[in-house]
């Protein structure tokens, strides 16, 4: 039996109608067409499905869609502002932090969440924050470099009032 409830994603409110067993990831990908979040392991091992629930990173493949009712969901599609890439998106592209790109949406959501809570992270802070996101291509080196660079870009953008 399907249930219908509202869900707020990237600032838009949608009424979705899904089976109770539907995960948030399935709801985002297959009901709302937000295919940026990826399914890599089906069970919370790889982190490719990471999204924010009320600003905190969670694994959407082991979260029921219903659990997001009345809460704010942010996905990789919601990171850019007014057509401008989030500094961590731009840095990951520039520094070679996205090879195949499949873990990238999850990496971005974990990294951007880190920069919200810790604007001046060390390399070890970044490693810790990304430890739930498996990347098979890069060996993480360029991802870590990119996140550190994005941290300084974001600090500068915020002090200049160019980023909320």
């Amino acid at each position: 039996m399907k249930e219908t409830f509202p869900i707020a994603v990237n600032g838009d409110v949608h009424d979705v109608s899904v089976e109770p067993r539907t995960t948030l990831l399935e709801c985002l990908r297959y009901e709302l067409g937000l295919t940026g979040s990826k399914q890599g392991c089906d069970k919370g091992d790889c982190g490719a499905c990471t999204v924010w629930l009320d600003g905190r990173p969670i694994l959407s493949c082991i979260t029921l869609a219903r659990a997001a009712e009345g809460r704010r969901v942010t996905t990789v599609e919601g990171l850019a502002r007014a057509g401008r890439l989030h500094p961590v998106q731009d840095a990951l592209d520039l520094k070679g932090g996205a090879q195949c790109g499949f873990c990238t949406p999850g990496i971005l959501m974990s990294a951007a969440a880190l920069l919200e809570s810790n604007p001046q992270p060390t390399a070890d802070d970044v490693r810790q924050a990304l430890s739930g996101n498996l990347c098979r291509c890069t060996g993480y080196t360029k991802i870590i470099e990119a996140v550190l660079e994005a941290a300084s870009t974001l600090r500068a953008a915020r002090s200049a009032g160019e980023w909320p």
Binding site: D42, K43, C46, A48, A80, G101, F102, L130, G139, K142
Partner: protein, 785 residues
């Protein structure tokens, strides 16, 4: 006109001036990746699309007596079922070993072998329907080890095998091995075991079949070989190739794990044919482990002889390869296990005897560094033993055996550019080797290893005289340039590499290039993303096509300006005569001049490898031959915890001769990704099975991929030897840099605690046992008993 690229005798020079090549440009699809907008196969939803699932054998070896799908078909929402009977034609990536069926026909050969597939309204209904299919199995004794399989030739795992359970046997001898070993002052004799591991790309395999009303099949797949998939689809479905279109959307990692057809591609095609609707299959992560085609487990016995001065005399190898249930690329693997060892050191005599054996486990295949990572581990460890016995620094021992440039290996492979000496110098310097080797305190150590790898295999998988890579370029009067190529971007950045090359030649910004790739209807054939071939081969094809257009553009603009065409440069979005303020226009204007003069602008380019000139004329001499070889050296620094045997790699220095780095960021990415993957095989990963043949942990939790916290620091040191046949001198970077990872770590463990660990992975228990064995032998190390 010959498709073969004109042989270049002049080596490119370092002083060549480039606008795009060698710069840290963004990738063409990068912004789509960081915004989540690049479409991968599972992101594609077609109208009326059904979802299918595959029923897999719970038995490692079983005859299929009957399949009753009536209850499944009766389930509401179920549309069709296919079984092995729907696919009577066997397939295989290597034309000589077509030994598998899309779904098991008479026998299931391993736990996880596909038996039937169901298409339904949604994935969950299809999964429910699988439980309603009744399969009657007659259990056969499974053979799970190489030893068992060889001991029971009467119980054949794969009925296509010519002899018992031997998948392939190769024995080749070059020079006087017996005499060389007899005359050696020192001979290292030992055995090593390289455990199997799998690719584990983060994107699970996915395919969509869509039979249109015209009888045309469009197949979307997360493949890395659209052309070979195209061919095998035509064979198995018994359709002409011109009725099939293969589209490769974004691929979320592959590493060799998507380089042949899989059951899902055939299943979605047949189910779509039966239902008249598009059908999608997305593997679960568990299914990815069963499909496998990863690193072969190998038992390797070596005899390595040398003079007391440290010159190699002769090398002999005996190798047993656990192939799993099907051949996959196994014929090539068996050759590669011997053929790719003959550089970067001079070997006066060499012999190898390799046997690949069928067992009732998921088939092994090509994982990054196909077939040559395992022997490289054993051999580079043997060199470390040799250096110690001869009282030589391991780097010095390697220097005494350098083969140099423009030479032939003992197995007659042509070697052109060779930056291996510079690789050794670079890792020695960067790691401060001389201060560390045998000088760090007990428990800490450094190890070195070197290697070589092919820049593309010299021949296509199916013999033919056509180019290995084709390229078409269309130049528009707006200044936009479209590049059509059959290459497969799997994250390594090959679409971008083609864009850089064409942008460099035609003087446009990279942003003006559109790359149309991975679509057999739109792009000319490229053989695919395997054997590290794309930069070299597709790069040369793109260069060939671009230079033809460049000639036309310069000639047309020269006529406008009344200057000699060779004075005109195309660079940075302009056509110009250097130093002439009057003669500079946007390049689009020069394109318009060319279109006015020559008509609609377009060109084609091809690359064909040098053929017989680069290898010996013996059976197997073509396998391992390549137009150019890359070279790598690693130094690894480790800490070993005495009490537990836990190994921690502190840092890996990677020096890689990639010919020329067309984009250093992409090359470093390949070097770091390779070193990481080798490191993972050294310490973490193992494709491991229970005694009944069931995978021990087919999940990304149980199969331990290193996380960001586990992965060591890595430093990439690019060496550019400027190969004279590579595009701008470029060679491969995608697979070579993995090879020295494991032996460098093994040799570093020895330097740290004086214990040799010959079996992978270097789990704490094994390291601890090796330390205990050293103690029991009363062999103190660095002052420790």
């Amino acid at each position: 006109m010959s498709a073969k690229a004109p042989p270049r005798t002049e080596r490119p020079t370092e002083t060549e001036h480039f606008s795009v090549i060698g710069k840290r440009n963004r990738k063409v699809e990068g912004r789509r990746k960081v915004t989540g907008q690049l479409l991968y196969t599972d992101d594609i939803v077609l109208p009326r699309m059904l979802h299918a699932k595959i029923l897999r054998s719970p038995h490692a070896h079983a005859r299929i007596k009957g399949i009753d799908a009536r209850r499944a078909l009766a389930l509401p929402g179920v549309h069709a079922v296919v079984t092995g009977r729907d696919f009577p034609v066997p397939y295989g990536i290597i034309p000589w070993t077509r030994d598998e069926y899309p779904l098991a026909l008479d026998k299931a050969l391993y736990i996880g072998d596909g038996v039937a597939a169901v298409a339904a309204d949604d994935e969950r209904t299809a999964a429910d329907a699988l439980r309603l299919i009744e399969v009657e199995y007659e259990l056969l004794p499974p053979l799970l080890t190489v030893e068992e399989a060889l001991a029971h030739p009467e119980n054949q795992v794969n009925p296509f095998a010519k002899v018992g359970n031997v998948s392939k046997h190769v024995h080749l001898t070059f020079g006087d091995v017996e005499g060389g070993l007899a005359a050696s002052d020192e001979v290292v004799r030992d055995t090593w075991f390289y455990a199997g591991s799998t690719h584990a790309p983060i994107e699970p395999h996915c395919a969509i079949g869509d039979f249109g009303p015209e009888g045309l099949l469009t197949l979307y797949s997360s493949t890395q070989v659209p052309h070979y998939l195209h061919r095998e689809l035509a064979r198995v479905l018994e359709m002409p190739m011109d009725r099939i279109r293969v589209i490769q959307p974004g691929v979320g990692g592959a590493f060799g794990g998507k380089s042949e057809p899989f059951d899902l591609e055939f299943a979605v095609a047949r189910l779509s044919q039966k239902t008249g609707r598009p059908v999608k299959i997305l593997y679960t992560r568990e299914e990815v482990f069963y499909s496998h085609r990863g690193r072969h487990p190998m038992r390797l016995a070596y005899e390595v002889g040398a003079t007391r001065e440290g010159k190699l005399t002769a090398v002999r190898a005996k190798i047993h390869i656990d192939g799993g249930a099907y051949s996959s690329f196994g014929l090539v693997t068996t050759y590669y296990s011997g053929q790719l060892l003959c550089a970067p050191y001079v070997m006066p005599a060499y012999e190898f005897d390799s046997t690949r054996v069928f067992t009732n486990k998921p088939a092994c295949g090509p994982k990054r560094g196909h077939g040559s990572v395992q022997p490289r581990f054993a051999f580079e460890c043997a060199l470390d033993v040799l250096a110690e016995r001869l009282d030589l620094d391991p780097i010095e021992l390697r220097r005494k055996n350098l083969m140099g440039e423009d030479t032939r290996t003992v197995n007659e492979m042509r070697v052109t550019s060779n930056g291996f000496p510079q690789c050794l110098d670079a890792v020695e310097r960067a790691s401060e080797w001389k201060k560390k080797h045998r000088r760090l305190p007990y428990g800490q150590g450094v190890g070195v290893a070197g290697s070589t790898y092919i820049s593309g295999t010299n021949y296509p998988i199916y013999p033919n005289d056509m180019p290995q890579s084709g390229c078409q370029i269309k130049v528009d009067r707006s200044g936009r340039v479209t590049v059509f190529s059959g290459v497969s971007d799997i994250g390594q950045g090959c679409d971008s590499v083609l864009a850089y090359i064409v942008a460099e030649e035609l003087g446009v910004e990279v942003e003006a290039i559109r790359v149309v790739a991975g679509d057999t209807d739109l792009a000319p054939v490229d053989l695919g993303a395997y054997s590290s071939r794309i930069t070299f081969m597709a790069g040369n094809a793109a260069l060939d096509a671009a230079r033809k257009l460049k000639r036309q553009v310069r000639e047309a603009q020269a006529a406008v300006w009344d200057v000699a065409p060779e004075r005109i440069e195309l660079a940075g979005g302009f056509a110009l005569v250097p130093g002439d303020q009057e003669r500079i226009v946007p390049v689009a204007q020069a394109f318009q001049a060319a279109e006015a003069r020559f008509g609609t602008l377009g060109s084609t380019g091809s690359y064909k490898s040098p053929g017989d000139a680069v290898h010996g004329e013996y059976r197997g001499g073509t396998i391992g031959a390549s137009p150019a070889y890359s070279f790598t050296a690693h130094v690894a620094e480790v800490e070993v915890e005495e009490e537990t045997g836990l190994v921690q790699v502190k840092k890996i220095w990677v020096a890689h001769d990639c010919g020329r780095a067309l984009n250093p960021t992409l090359v470093e990415g390949q070097m770091e990704g390779s070193a990481y993957m080798g490191y993972a095989e050294a310490l973490f990963e193992e494709q491991d099975f229970q005694p009944n043949g069931l995978h021990r942990g087919p999940s990304l939790l149980d199969y331990r991929l290193p996380t960001s916290l586990d992965t060591p620091d890595m430093e990439s040191l690019i060496i550019e030897s400027l190969d004279r046949e590579g595009p701008y001198g470029a060679k491969e970077a995608g697979e070579g840099p993995l090879h020295p990872s494991v032996p460098a770590i093994a040799n570093a463990i020895y330097d740290a605690v004086g214990a040799r660990v010959n079996d992978l992975p270097f789990y704490p228990g094994r390291v601890r046992a090796a330390i205990a064995a050293r103690r029991a032998a009363a062999r103190p190390w660095k002052g420790r008993s």
